[in-house]
Subunit: 206 residues, 2 copies
Amino acid sequence: MNEIPPVVFVVDDEAAVCISLKRLLRSVGLEAQTYPSAQEFLRSERPDAPGCLVLDVRLPGLSGLDLQQELRAAKINLPVIFVTGHGDIPMSVRAMKAGAVEFLTKPFREQDLLEAIQRGIELSRITRQNNAEIRTLQRRYASLTPREREIFPRVTGGLLNKQIAAQLGASEKTIKVHRGQVMQKMKAESLAHLIQMAEKLRLSSN
Amino acid sequence: MNEIPPVVFVVDDEAAVCISLKRLLRSVGLEAQTYPSAQEFLRSERPDAPGCLVLDVRLPGLSGLDLQQELRAAKINLPVIFVTGHGDIPMSVRAMKAGAVEFLTKPFREQDLLEAIQRGIELSRITRQNNAEIRTLQRRYASLTPREREIFPRVTGGLLNKQIAAQLGASEKTIKVHRGQVMQKMKAESLAHLIQMAEKLRLSSN
DNA sequence: CGTCCTATGGGACCAAGGTCCAATATGCAG
DNA sequence: CTGCATATTGGACCTTGGTCCCATAGGACG
């Protein structure tokens, strides 16, 4: 199923760190790509694979925390693991609040880093799976006509065809047709299925 | 709607800290209850109100982090704000991973603490609301007969009455009766509504 | 033993959902 | 202008769901 090999991105301004981390990751069978700065990382073409980001907090230019914000703002979902030699508590708290998987201080045990990376990759896999599913649903939703998009949330909200007809000033017959179209276009096998889709698309009531 | 006044629990072994925090909270109109140790806090009768816990990491006996775990294990949902004079990064990371709202180091700005407390209380309100809703649903679910509990997830899974009948080796007629009972007992106004309940009760498919 | 809960269903009947065929109207792009 | 997509609706017809009334049957409980 999930055959895409994961990639670990390492951003650290010390070349020695990059090299040694890359070697460590290779030794456990993980592909690693290294970058000397946040900007380099952002500029790069990143493979479309599950993975995570190992980040030094202190970096020239954009800091690690800044990069974390950037990724978040750009809706790039990549679990972040911080590694730092000169961190403090507020820094770590900020990183964790922003969703970092781990925040390690040098020197750290290799084992701790590798475990965090595994957790990050697992998380990435799950998120990617979710995103893929949602994108599929969004594609289907995009194929609905405006009228069908009015019908959709009302159907999944539990309204009867006649109630929807009254709300939209149309005949019950028309609603049935649109409703059927919605079911088909969304590839819903049952009302239950359609409602689940609505929730994933956050269309239900909010 | 939500008229219950929030309560802030403060656990700190230094009486002076307790007193001054209590005074601070009073000054912004928040009720505070103080405890000198985690054990004292756990032993105490706590009011059933929204609130949060302000916790020193270092405490005699159970540490603040231990108390956080205890609450979690006991399914007591109370947002935790850590305050400490002698913290380190691993400590803060562990606290944040365990879901702490904030981790402040002394000396901290009063404003930061008060903001964290407000966030904690708000979180508590939301969680309490959710819990209350789920408990209501669980009470209704508890009133279902064994047979009705077999029907419920199949209905919300989108199966037709006839399919359910085949699965359970009963007539479609019987399923209809049970299904009607389920709708009534769960106070569901529509299938859509029932499906939402199933998801909140995590009965759907997982 | 009688009563209540649970589970089971038959018959009747109505409401709601779903589908097929057909038709009309509007607006936009080629 | 002419298709094409969209929106609308009617008629016919079938499937599902939902509700009444009624009846049977087993197990638990007082």
